[in-house]
């Protein structure tokens, strides 16, 4: 077994291929891994007609690109993609298979790995070389703890990479061959029927372009306490946003949610109030120019990404901040 195979994800949108952006981060991780272990870097894209995305990949510094092509891969199904990639991996026998940790990968990659009697090392945030043996870093307990994982034995090692953990701009340019791989797929082996993707409602709140955001999390405790953060947002002229539990509880509408299942924002300043900073939230706000965290737990993962922090009771700090902001603005 040799080589690092990166499986990139795209889907056809308005007749054109659109990459899932974490794909390029996974390719960057694959490049790093291939350099550590001195093995060739390979890439694959699977779909009904993957020629265009494969051609784009062929302009990167890779040993080879596989265009995994089959009419049954038009719409994603776990069964279709698993069967297709199982055949590709059996055919080229890579030592490592790297995926972006997307919702789609979460749906099929664990089962694909199990088919090779392997466990996926999911949601990896770093790769270190320990001699020739790579060590994969994952986060535990919602980011409170890091853990080093190793793979042993034969069989390919399956890895997925966390959004925002690797730098896509490090992927080197080059040129390589595209090989078309046509898996044997049978419609009777695809057990689930996927329907059209849809959005609940047109988003009326665009947090992505907001320059200032005040965001609230579990620490607020009750819906009735929300006015204190609304006041701060109003005083600052900021948009109000929230972490997932607040929207799940219906305290704020879903369209105000920041994180992997909500919006990804990059304001000039992001004030996180009572947000512990679970990974799913951090991926949605890591792009902020400045992050302020107000939290009672000094070990909360939000402080990992904060530029400024106040460790304290938000019910005392936030009203005081609202008053201070008004004073500074009035001056």
């Amino acid at each position: 077994m040799t080589g690092v195979l990166v499986v990139l994800e795209y889907r056809v949108q308005d007749g054109r291929p659109a990459w899932n952006r974490i794909s390029w981060e996974a390719l960057a991780a694959g490049q790093e891994l291939a350099a550590h272990i001195g093995q060739p870097l390979l890439a694959a894209a699977a779909g009904e007609s993957p020629a265009a995305p494969a051609a784009e990949l062929a302009r990167k510094k890779l040993a080879r690109v596989y265009a995994v092509e089959h009419p049954l891969l038009q719409l994603y199904t776990a069964d279709g993609v698993t069967l297709a990639l199982e055949q590709l991996i059996s055919s080229i026998q890579p030592a490592y298979v790297v995926f972006p940790h997307t919702y789609q990968v979460r749906d099929f990659a664990p089962g694909l790995a199990a088919r090779f009697e392997q466990t996926l090392i999911a949601d990896v945030v770093g790769i270190h070389a320990d001699g020739a043996q790579p060590v994969f870093v994952r986060q535990l307990l919602q980011g409170k703890l890091n853990a080093d994982y190793r793979h042993s034995g034969d069989g390919p090692c399956f890895v997925s990479t966390q959004a925002g953990a690797f730098r896509p701009e490090t992927v080197e340019s080059g040129s390589c061959e595209v090989e078309v791989f046509r898996p044997q797929l049978d419609a009777s082996k695809i057990r689930s029927v996927p329907f059209e993707r849809f959005r609940m409602a047109e988003q009326t709140v665009d947090l992505t372009s907001a320059p200032l955001i005040v965001s609230v999390g579990r620490g607020i405790k009750e819906k009735d306490n929300l006015p204190i953060v609304e006041e701060l947002a109003r005083a600052m002229g900021a948009e109000l946003a929230a972490s997932r539990p607040i929207c799940d509880n219906g305290w704020l509408p879903m369209e105000r949610q920041v994180g992997s299942s909500g919006q990804s924002v990059s304001p000039k300043v992001y004030i996180a109030v009572g947000i512990s900073g679970a990974i799913q939230h951090l991926v949605g706000m890591k792009g902020s120019k400045a992050v302020v965290a107000i939290n009672k737990d000094e070990n909360a993962p939000i402080f990992e990404v904060a530029d400024y922090g106040i460790v304290g009771d938000l019910f005392e700090v936030v009203p005081a901040l609202t008053a201070a902001v008004r004073k500074v603005k009035g001056a």
């Binding site: 199990a114 029927v193 849809f198 700090v317």
Partner: protein, 256 residues
């Protein structure tokens, strides 16, 4: 319909953690434990399905003796019976090893539907459900927000990224991993707590299963993350800190 809900007991969310002397896990005597939050929503989804379509809800949990508390709470909420695979060293297995234990029990139960949370709050690998489906040879869907049972199939709404959703239909039996927050969680009633004491909990020793294959993935060590960013902690009383922060926002970040 017969529904199995696979649940895990994990450290309470805001636990203060200490790394144990092996450097591979946490000092457990300092911790309190609770049901993994997404698994609580899987249990709720199962109880709602049972109320609508009648049938049986079986709770399945692998873990040490302390997991018995989580099992009792699930029974008090309305699950009919439970199976506890007892083991003190599940930490030594990889996901495939744990999924094999769970799948062996599920296969013998012949359920129509298997539900579990989309991931655990401690390890966060998010794959035990999918791997169980693969081992059982049944279809699955992940990150499920809504479920509609049909005659011999189930239709589910999956969450995708960036506010997108998709309905998927698959034949039963099937396995679904449930997203957190999709419904309101019920509390156990006093009557429920009382009744739970009479409900069956079958205890199986993990050692009586086929010896697990050597794990291919192992956890080497755990450690506190190195800070990537220098955080300036602003101290003082709440009003002092707030005043300093307002100055920072005006003069350094320049947004006021």
């Amino acid at each position: 319909m017969k529904i199995i809900v696979a649940v895990k007991q994990v450290p309470v969310r805001d636990s203060v953690i200490h790394i144990d002397s092996s450097g591979k896990w946490l000092e457990e005597q300092d911790l309190s434990f609770e049901i993994n939050e997404p698994d609580a929503y899987a249990l709720e989804a199962a109880l709602l399905l049972k109320e609508k379509h009648s049938g049986e809800v079986v709770v399945l949990c692998a873990g040490p003796e302390r997991a018995g508390q989580t099992i009792r709470e699930a029974l008090a909420k309305g699950a009919d019976r439970a199976i506890h695979i007892q083991s003190d060293d599940l930490v030594k297995l990889d996901t495939l090893g744990v999924a094999r234990l769970l799948a062996a029990v599920i296969a013998a139960e012949k359920a129509d539907l298997i539900l579990t949370g989309l991931q655990s709050d401690d390890l966060g690998l998010g794959q035990t459900g999918v791997v169980m489906a693969e081992l059982l040879g049944i279809p699955h869907a992940t990150i499920v927000m809504e479920l509609e049972k049909r005659e011999n199939s189930i239709r589910v709404k999956r969450e995708l990224e960036d506010g997108w959703f998709q309905w998927v239909e698959m034949p039963l039996p099937a396995l679904l991993t449930i997203q957190s927050g999709i419904s309101k969680l019920r509390y156990a009633t006093l009557m429920g707590i009382k009744k739970a004491k009479t409900k069956e909990v079958r205890r199986l020793d993990a050692a009586q299963f086929a010896a697990p294959a050597a794990p291919t993935v192992s956890l080497d060590r755990v450690y506190l993350p190195h800070k990537k960013k220098e955080t300036r902690i602003i101290g003082g009383t709440p009003s002092e800190a707030a005043a300093k922060l307002a100055d920072v926002l005006k003069f350094e970040v320049r947004v006021l």
